[in-house]
Symmetry: C2
Subunit: 324 residues, 2 copies
């Protein structure tokens, strides 16, 4: 497998080489802007890695990698609009730099362009790949809808939450990796195991994001600590805390979340203290480790020599901030 | 070919039989609502008719017909949001009945479901059909963007306008008919001629819509007369009038359009008088007839017996309110 830095360079180059129609400018300029926004390119990386497990001519999987990255950025564009976000990767979002209608229409076009990139792939199993991609896209919409629904609920169960983040986040990682494998004509059992591997990595990744929002080092985390607490987001930590809390603790937690007069820092500290009393950090770490172990098991079941799979494992570990 | 009433009944039944996931309700209920809104189902009708030109087992083309209707309703849903429309087919639009985020996300899901319907088609030429569908979808986004751009311009040329309505309206009619033909494995030359036929019918249809907005019988037209004039829409009539007008007439027309103090009826009448002075009605009728003749010619070139093509011609004529 080519080194990850080399794969990333291939993706960036391919993204730059996508040729957009010059007209209408108002439609294609925002698309180029969004795709030029950087990011870790995790999804196309997984596609190229999934392909590279089986074949060396990784260029052949590039259109599929572009499809996944374009699709992912379509979801970011529309999610940012729905969330009234202002900034993404340090730059104004499309509905701020242009306007809301531009965000809707350019976002729609990106979804179509993602399909068109996928159409350019020389495919051994077209039906399987099309089905995987379109089903995943639909599941991601479902995940976003559940996420919206959860905002107005205080009775979200842990299982529902895990299913929401699986749909909203993990499914696309899993689809990305499996697509690469399918383009390389991998055996079905391997492709499914790779799907499960990435899905489990995605769950670990999302729970770790929940964890770091409360316990992370602000210098390393890259976001402000406590953001989830301040906006009352139903994270794994909050859901578990509400479940373990006795009646008094539960009431205190709900009161804290509903209190909009308290200073931010005080509120974050008070919720964190409650989490500490309930040992929520340990619970979360345990859940992350369990998903991590499941991911390992899924990858182990892929019928390839361990050494061939090592770069993929290292990549996943690096995403989770772990070294071997 | 089955009678149009029978084809329409098949489409309505197929739409009712689409099974939506029951969860999340907030995502799928608006989709079922939109697709239950009636309408003439022109696009799926064209798909079934295109197929029926070549084969009798029209059920086989139903998933493709559903794809086209679902895609079309996706565009209506997002266009209504972008246009801040309130009502569609006598019912509140999705962003009013639910909210804007629901309109965005359910609309995205409809686009994906359209792809998934198409995926269910037993296809002899999958690559050609996928390419046609996705390219058309992208062109329709371009048409919508041009339409938006034209709102803030007074120098729209006739050619640009025709290209805009071709992209925004005709392309989908053409794609619908050609898709049906391709699913039936029609010869490429026929499929292309059918595309051109529906494209030209679409142009005639759109220009007729422009015409009826000014000269239609309100009882027959179904919309309020003069709506385009009041919102200053760049229609064929306005663009042609601005082109033919002398300096005085041009200034009077621009002043009229910019005047927001004048009573609606007086404004409509004054613009209509100017159009009459410039014989714009005749120009428009002539352009409609020219596209109608081009459509006829395209259909004549399809290598099938005249009698076999007659129902398609009659259907197009009926859409244009013409009898043989």
């Amino acid at each position: 497998m080519k080194p990850t830095a080399e794969l990333l360079a291939m993706i960036e180059q391919a993204l730059r080489q996508v040729s957009y129609p010059t007209q209408p400018v108002g439609l294609y300029e925002p698309i180029a802007y969004v795709l030029d926004g950087g990011g870790k390119r995790i999804r196309p990386m997984l596609t190229l890695m999934g392909y590279s497990l089986y074949r060396d001519d990784v260029e052949r999987a590039l259109p599929a990698a572009l499809a996944l990255e374009t699709y992912h950025n379509h979801t970011l564009l529309h999610d940012d609009l729905m969330d009234h976000a202002e900034v993404r990767r340090g730059r104004p979002v499309v509905h701020k730099k242009w306007d809301e209608n531009t965000a809707i229409l350019s976002g729609d076009t990106m979804l179509i362009m993602a399909f068109r990139h996928l159409l350019a792939v020389d495919m051994p199993q077209p039906q399987a790949i099309w089905d995987l991609f379109s089903r995943s896209a639909q599941e991601i919409c479902e995940g976003q809808q559940y996420d919206v629904n959860f905002e107005s609920r205080t009775d979200v169960e842990e299982e529902e939450y895990i299913e929401m983040i699986r749909l909203k986040t993990s499914v696309l990682l899993a689809c990305s990796l499996k697509t690469g494998a399918l383009v390389a004509d991998a055996p079905a059992a391997d492709a499914d195991a790779l799907y499960r591997f990435a899905e489990r990595v995605g769950l670990a990744f999302q729970l770790q994001d929940d964890y770091l929002d409360v316990y992370g080092d602000p210098k390393v985390f890259g976001k402000k600590i406590g953001g989830d607490i301040l906006c009352g987001k139903k994270t794994f930590l909050l859901i578990r805390a509400l479940k373990k809390a006795d009646a008094d603790q539960r009431q205190r937690l709900l009161d804290l979340l509903a209190d909009h007069t308290m200073a931010d820092e005080a509120k974050i500290q008070a919720v964190r203290n409650l989490y500490d009393d309930l040992h929520i950090a340990d619970d979360c770490t345990e859940a992350i480790n369990a998903y991590y172990a499941e991911a390992r098991k899924a990858l182990d079941s892929v019928a390839l020599p361990q050494a061939q799979k090592a770069p993929l494992w290292e990549y996943a570990a690096s995403l989770l901030g772990r070294t071997k």
